[in-house]
Assembly symmetry: C2
Homo-oligomer: 585 residues x 2
């Protein structure tokens, strides 16, 4: 039986940075070669980053991706790495690239994988199953491939597949069984969700059984806009055994030797399966066994939920700040739990020297709030400032006739103006600190505490905020470090402190009642009847649903305007946040 | 030859308002019956409104749509209208509706049309071609129908189709030819774009030729979020003649008699075409000719571009305000052209009593700006106020060390805080007034002049703003009314007035140079090379592209945060703005 030494390159590309991403491929391929690998795998859309969204519609971008691929193949050969086959994801399109002209949706863009060898593209594969749910819109961008690419490498038939191909039955994995391959490569840009790793392994096992072949699963890591890619790359044998697994949320080169069945029949150029064509080819010069002692990649044990989420939030924040080249961040510190958790995340992501925390007390701010904010600053070492807002609030109150909620919101908006002024003056990105429970029920001020360029906890329910804070403190103590979050901030009843003696519980159910209803309604799309059947109090359900529907409607009020053309800004113009792709000189 | 009197009901449904939309069907069917119609047609997704976006994933919503359809059929019969066949769009799904439980994407929702007759659903059709470009995401929501529904009505075979079925060749229209139908009904939720009416008529003619049958095209009217539906309903004969056409942007009952070929062969229950099944049925009791004198719907001539856009913007604004039940709107009046045009649109949409205009002068505001704002208020009759911002700006400057751009932005943000305070205190919706050119190059302040719930001119290039202003004034004079927009506001050089003597042309190319480049880059997805080939100065192109890419990136900074669940708020949670659908009591 041949043995292949696989190198799964769990790297962190940046959307739009074709040159930087190609450099990543070159340096990691060098490391893989040094480790004696016979086949190197990089993630989905490695060259362009993922997701590129409506950049797909720029022919100049598609042409740049294709040119970067050809250049990369040549550069790898020039680096002396031409004999080592490299699988890399990129953006392709049917037909010749054009210098100018509008790209029509559905004009034939492809989510593609290339096998680079001896300075050229030796084989290509186009993703067959295109996901079109949740964050995915791939039917908008790509057309589906109808051929499975099988390449004989070191005497083993290896099939190439991409991401969603693994998540749906039939198609490439069924075709791989028919082709009798020994290994299926699956390259991914698979975004993190809590506990997705628990779903992923059984799924890879199921597909290994379907294909009757081992699977090498490689995923990218890193943050892009609201998505975090977690890595969790792995190799599973044909009979479903987990052979090796990489850690989550870090770049990692997973090198592992695997015995694979020798390809039996001589390959024909093309075979027909029921639903997919099979296209065979052979790479010359790949030895059927690696040299030197055997190498194993090892197994990483899964971590606790809180540790996993904390790492995801830190990575998402760090990459948003660094990939977009912000020097630093600024946030308001109220003394409460949300801003304390965001500050601790920011310090973990960027270090204390790149985090500015501003206490913005009003006449309603309690003494303990000011003390807890100062305590947090001391514990984390961030750059701490105090800017009392009352003089500015009074300036508005003296000139306008305001009362009630308008006065409450005014205070939050004055804080927003101050944070944005510091951002403009000193270059910090403003961090928002509203948790998902607050967002869901609209317990925040539009253009006030909702101001900011990035919110690390926008998808974290309030009860999970508390769990994260406790876990982070305990983990610090376990490591003999200072717990970053003041116990006071964790223990005290939540308050917006916008009017005298105000508490969240004046307006909302307790969070341990609220969150389970919100999770059912927002995450689970349960209706009222379903929630009541799950055992929730009907009166509380009605109250919460009313809050969510009203908030949904308020939140969306900062979006629209009338559209009269093909491409208004907003809903029908979807671009990734990147400053790495530039048409201009 | 039989003659059918068709009634095309070009109505304005509201998303989520199942009861209200059903009432619309009943009252318009009554009018159609009074006019002697033999067949009444309502738009796509009439019962639910369109688009319903992620509401599709709530089983309770799908179940409510199906129940509303059955109730509507019964109510029409109870109204004495049961003998009159009515085609109505609604949301359906495969399988029985469930009381609770999560709806999975792709679980079988259908964009459906029902033919109601004698108190029941006599036939159904499921949309075949699902659009998935621009504002459309229908592959996310629906599965494609594979059967053409043909119903014999008054001796004529009538095929049912929905919207996109008309925009793609093959499928239902090819099947309609094979079935030998006399009429194809096409019901629509087709959003307005400038000059789309010029594309639509030739398209309907092409499909009439493809089907070898007349086409009755009915479209909804009204605004929903950023979309405006324009109506433009029409009937085209089998040989491509435009027989009758409804006006744009208003509700209209288009009643027209059309001679149609008698169905020749007795229908079988089911025929097979190449790609679509054909399902036949027959309605009893429909006379082959209408009673009384012949009726024609007449022909509406297309209007000038400026008139068309103005009507679209007025309708989009009016429906956003009224459907969401805002009592009134408020906007800042700078004396410049953008706020003047938005104020004139608002007064046209809502009347002067529901529009509050606030002059917010600073120390940099010129005398002519204050006078032009006051002149606009006098001409339009809106509720006019003056709130000088300098005292509040000085409050911030006294407490923070700010300079340059931070001071400019501060002034815009103080204005935003004042408008939002008035909104909170008095209940107005804040209107934003930034035009598309400004938005594209980022010539605005985040949380400053970008504050607001709705921007009527977000998709209007600056040069079109001027054209609209001139057209509106001229049209007023033609009608013997006061021109609403001060000539000064139209004629003077644009300025943000945030620093002494500031002009837009200090930072940007002149708008007649800027706009054509923006149109190519943003609307046309042209790359740098394509723009230079089109004859633009390469240095100006580079400057403009740099501005757009930077602005794109800045604008998107108010959006993201890290996602850790199936449904974070934002990108993967798409809901229409509606307060008409409520789960709770």
């Amino acid at each position: 039986m041949p043995t292949l030494r696989l190198a799964l390159s769990q790297v962190n590309p940046s959307v739009g940075d074709l040159a930087g991403n190609a450099d990543l491929v070159r340096s990691w391929t060098r490391q893989a070669a040094d480790a004696g690998a016979q086949l190197v795998l990089f993630p989905e859309m490695m060259l362009t980053g993922y997701p590129v969204e409506d950049l797909v519609f720029r022919r100049s971008f598609v042409a740049a991706s294709r040119a970067a691929l050809e250049r990369l193949a040549a550069d790898l050969a020039a680096d002396g790495l031409g004999e080592l086959p490299v699988v890399v994801g990129y953006l392709d399109a049917d037909g010749p690239p054009q210098v100018s002209g509008d790209a029509e949706p559905g004009r034939g863009a492809r989510n593609a994988a290339a096998l680079l060898h001896r300075g050229v593209v030796a084989a290509r594969y186009f993703k067959h199953h295109l996901p079109n749910y949740g964050v995915f819109d791939e039917d908008r961008y790509f057309i589906s491939g109808d051929a499975l690419t099988v390449v004989r490498i070191g005497g083993v038939d290896v099939a190439l597949t991409i991401c969603e191909d693994l998540w749906q039955a039939g198609g490439p994995f069924a075709a791989a069984r028919r082709a009798g391959v020994g290994l299926v490569v699956n390259i991914n840009g698979s975004p993190y969700e809590l506990n997705k790793d628990d779903i992923r392994l059984p799924l890879v096992r199921r597909r290994a059984a379907e294909a009757g072949a081992a699977i090498a699963y490689v995923n990218m890591t890193g943050g892009q806009d609201e998505l975090v890619f977690e890595g969790d790359s792995m190799i599973v044998s044909a009979d479903g055994e987990l052979l090796t697994r990489a850690p989550q949320f870090v770049e990692h080169l997973l090198v592992h030797d695997i015995e694979l069945p020798a390809a039996a029949t001589p390959p024909t150029t093309e075979t027909l399966a029921d639903d997919m064509r099979i296209v065979h080819s052979t790479l010359d010069g790949i030895p059927p066994t690696p040299s030197g002692p055997a190498v194993t990649g090892g197994l990483i044990e899964p971590v606790a939920d809180e540790a996993e989420v904390w790492q995801a939030l830190v990575l998402g924040l760090r990459d948003y700040v660094n990939k977009n080249r912000f020097p630093s961040v600024v946030l308001g510190l109220s003394g409460g739990i949300d801003s304390a958790v965001v500050a601790a995340l920011a310090v973990d992501a960027l270090g204390p020297d790149r985090v500015v925390g501003v206490s913005l007390p009003s006449q309603h701010s309690s003494e303990h709030s000011r003390e807890d904010a100062a305590d947090l600053a001391k514990r984390t070492g961030l750059d701490y400032r105090v800017e009392p807002i009352q003089p500015m609030v009074d300036g508005f109150l003296a000139n306008l006739s305001l009362s009630g909620l308008a006065v409450e919101n005014l205070q939050a908006r004055v804080r927003g103006v101050i944070l944005m002024a510091l951002s403009n003056q000193e270059g910090h990105l403003v961090l928002t600190t509203g948790n998902k429970s607050e967002l869901a029920v609209g317990y925040s001020t539009l253009y006030g505490d909702s101001v900011g360029g990035f919110n690390p906890v926008k998808d974290v329910w309030k009860t999970l905020i508390w769990r994260l804070a406790k876990w982070r403190n305990k983990d610090a103590i376990r490591r003999g470090e200072t717990a970053p979050i003041p116990e006071n901030s964790i223990g005290k009843p939540p308050s917006a402190e916008l009017s005298p003696g105000q508490l969240d519980s004046d307006s909302l159910p307790e969070y341990d009642v609220l969150d389970p209803i919100l999770i059912g309604y927002v995450d689970g799309d349960l209706g009222r009847d379903g929630l009541v059947e799950s055992g929730h109090d009907p009166a509380v359900v009605d109250k919460v649903l009313r809050l969510v529907d009203t908030a949904e409607y308020k939140r969306r009020q900062s979006a629209p305007g009338t559209k009269i053309s093909m491409k208004a800004f907003g809903r029908d113009r979807r671009l990734p946040i990147t400053n790495r792709w530039r048409e201009h000189g």
